[in-house]
């Protein structure tokens, strides 16, 4: 891994009198979770590669409030939302990109009514636009011909109808994109949404992530691609449960592209 990431903060940008093209909202997973931090870095490498003028909030970023809201704590959600909105409005943020569909959905759909109106895109959509405008080029590299299946995150797919951007990116790798029997609108949840990530599941006869991993394994993939740090965790656990971690990797779409370029 190349060490030098250029990650300016909004505070630094402002001190220099600059306004970045886009704010990269890292999110709690992307900031703290060891697995998700790798996704964050892969995405930053791609931003650096494409010379995108971006910045992060750094220590001024705080949870969007999504897990609190889905757990039913509207108070905590709105406190978080209004604090974040105050920070972002002070920086006159116009456009936000994030690698977390939960942050994406919350900022895009639930912040406007509370005073936070921004253009919000998921990192797969952003990468797709870099590609379309010729700012980033993708080569298949090590993924040429590999069987890759994509798991639709609920908060990206059903919740916001983004299905094609991540698939288009995978196809650009010259990989063989294989669909699970339940995909897109009919995709099955990984089991983490609605604040389930932070608690033990209720009593049942199976864990949801195992059920979903079985869907993925049926496609005999070499890689299970995800677009959400929570889904990534759940599916990685599912693959381990099925003792397939030796032969099947769970990777974020941004990691696939960064690795293909040997970044």
């Amino acid at each position: 891994m190349s060490a030098n990431l250029t990650v300016p903060t909004m505070a630094e940008m402002m001190a220099q009198g600059k306004q970045p093209e886009v704010l990269f909202w890292v999110g709690c997973s992307g900031s703290f979770d060891d697995r998700a931090k790798k996704i964050t870095k892969a995405f930053v490498k791609l931003l650096n590669q494409a010379n995108v003028s971006f910045a992060v909030l750094g220590t001024e970023e705080s949870c969007t409030g999504d897990p609190a809201k889905r757990a039913g704590n509207e108070f905590l959600f709105q406190m978080q939302a209004m604090t974040n909105i105050e920070v972002m409005n002070a920086y006159e943020i116009k456009k936000i990109v994030t690698a977390c569909p939960h942050c994406f959905n919350t900022i895009k759909n639930e912040y406007p009514e509370l005073g936070g109106k921004y253009e919000v895109v998921h990192h797969t959509e952003f990468l797709k636009s870099l590609l379309d405008s010729g700012r980033l080029s993708i080569e298949g590299g090590q993924f040429k011909g590999k069987r890759i299946t994509f798991h639709d995150p609920c908060y990206l797919g059903r919740a916001n109808n983004v299905y094609e951007a991540p698939r288009d990116l995978i196809k650009k790798l010259d990989a063989e994109l294989v669909e699970m029997k339940r995909s897109k609108k009919n995709g099955l949840c990984c089991g983490a949404g609605g604040a389930q990530m932070f608690k033990e599941p209720e009593k049942g006869n199976k864990d949801i992530n195992v059920e979903r991993t079985e869907d993925a394994l049926e496609t005999r993939p070499e890689i299970i691609a995800a677009g959400c740090p929570f889904c990534n965790t759940m599916l990685t656990d599912g693959v381990k449960f099925k003792e397939k971690e030796g032969s099947i990797k769970v990777m974020d779409v941004a990691e696939l592209i960064a690795n293909a370029q040997d970044l």
């Binding site: 890292v26 039913g72 509370l114 609920c154 059903r158 009919n186 099955l188 389930q196 199976k206 949801i208």
Partner: protein, 446 residues
């Protein structure tokens, strides 16, 4: 000629229509027990939704085989109303096949079309009955359907079969009578209806004229009485969707599925908390509500009227439950049960109001705990699969979320791990215990 049948007909019509109107009024009153929610925006998108989803059954076609069978039943039902209109005119004015002289060849086409659809509908009902009772399709044989809901479903299908049998008895015997010039319709010949011109002589050809007349009238009256019975049965049944699918799709949520509503009552409080100029000791504004708003829902009156309309619209098909990740993995949550419970409780509240001269007298029960348990609510992943699946745009998820809000904000009754998560967000701005000052550390980690 006696006008007694006409009077009897009018009495049944008025009684049937009146009883239905009375019950419909009760349903509307119950729906209005819900909280206000504005769904008057964007009428063009709403009409479009209704046209595609309710009228065109767009979402049914996600599963093509049942969709085609259901569509046959639905079109038969809609088109048969033309024949019903004729029955109403004939019944009230003592005519026979009132439309035939004026419509001529088109009449033959119309009734033939109805007959063909009726054959399809009959096939569909028989297949639906076998799917439910012989094949034991899992989603139609779940725990929440045992007892009345199962009987309800079978009764509806049986009534539909009787209805179709009445149509063919009526047209078949009339055909035979017309062949021998004894029909109430002037003249002799064949009506030329596609099915009954063959079915009639084959089934009823050997019967005496008297029997034929009795059977013809039995079919005719049977059809009418079944329609009236069916109409009034709706109130007690899951079958209300044939009416409510239309308003329900019209008033359905138009926002992206991931967008949950922001509670306005909370916004006001949070804004006050964050306003540096707010005086914490100020007396409340004189126009402030006497009772502070309740956060979330513990009973049906706390839900909004669209959620209550959803409950009456649900026909218990169970597509939501069969697509629910929690249900598929053996958890107690069933989105269909959430809707059934909401309606059952709402009807209980309605009966309470009826019994107490128009006011609800607290009965010590609530939707939460007495119908829906916290265990069900906490199993939801908010994945929206149930919302996506529902062929009539019901949202069980919005009810689950409102009830979670009550559990957390009014009762502080979240599972312990979720309380930890929320404490972390409050203290350090992340669901895990990491210092907010360490948010950018990843940048320099190898």
């Amino acid at each position: 000629m006696s006008i007694l049948p006409n009077i009897m007909f009018a009495v049944i019509l008025i009684a049937g229509g009146g009883y239905f109107a009375m019950n419909l009024k009760k349903i509307i009153r119950n729906i209005k027990l819900g909280q206000d929610v504005n769904r008057s925006d964007n009428p063009s998108a709403r009409w479009k939704n209704m046209a595609l989803v309710a009228f065109g059954q767009k979402k049914m076609f996600a599963r093509p085989v049942p969709a085609i069978l259901h569509f046959a039943l639905y079109t038969a039902f809609v088109i048969t109303q033309i024949e019903l209109l004729e029955i109403l005119i004939d019944g009230l004015f003592g005519t026979h096949r009132f439309f035939k002289p004026s419509l001529g060849g088109f009449y033959t086409f119309l009734i033939s079309f109805i007959e063909l659809l009726s054959v399809l509908a009959l096939t569909a009902t028989v297949l639906f009955l076998s799917r439910r009772n012989l094949l034991k399709l899992p989603r139609l044989n779940m725990k929440e359907l045992m007892g009345w809901p199962m009987k309800d479903a079978n009764l509806i299908l049986i009534m539909e079969i009787i209805l179709v049998c009445c149509i063919f008895t009526m047209n078949g015997t009339d055909e035979v009578l017309y062949n021998i010039g004894k029909s109430h319709f002037e003249g002799q010949g064949s009506f030329g209806f596609t099915v009954s011109q063959h079915l009639g002589p084959a089934l009823f050809g050997n019967l005496s004229e008297g029997t034929l007349h009795v059977l013809e009238r039995a079919g005719w009256w049977g059809h009418f009485i079944m329609v009236m019975a069916f109409l009034n049965y709706l109130y007690f049944s899951k079958h209300l969707h044939i009416i409510f699918a239309f308003p329900n799709t019209y008033f359905a949520n138009l926002n992206p599925q991931g967008q949950f509503d922001n509670l306005q009552s909370v916004t006001n409080e949070v804004k006050l908390m964050m306003d540096p100029n707010a005086d914490p000791f100020a007396a409340p504004a004189p126009d402030a509500d006497a009772t502070p708003a309740k956060f979330g829902a513990s009973d049906v009156q706390d839900l909004n009227w669209v959620q209550l309309l959803n409950a009456y619209t649900c026909t218990e098909c169970g597509r939501c439950t069969s697509s629910c990740p929690a249900n598929q993995t053996g958890k107690k949550l069933s989105p269909r049960k959430i809707m059934m419970d909401t309606r059952d409780r709402l009807e209980e509240v309605g009966r309470n109001i009826d019994a107490n001269k128009g006011v609800f007298v607290p009965d010590g029960k609530s939707l939460l705990n007495d119908y829906i348990t916290p265990e069900e609510l906490w199993a939801c992943t908010s994945c929206n699969a149930c919302v996506e699946e529902c062929p009539v745009n019901i949202s069980p998820l919005s009810i689950i979320m409102d009830m979670r809000r009550y559990l957390v904000m009014e009762q502080s009754a979240a599972p312990v791990e979720l309380n930890n998560m929320m404490t972390n967000i409050e203290n350090n701005g992340a669901p895990w215990q990491y210092n907010q000052m360490d948010r950018l550390n990843w940048k320099d980690e190898a």
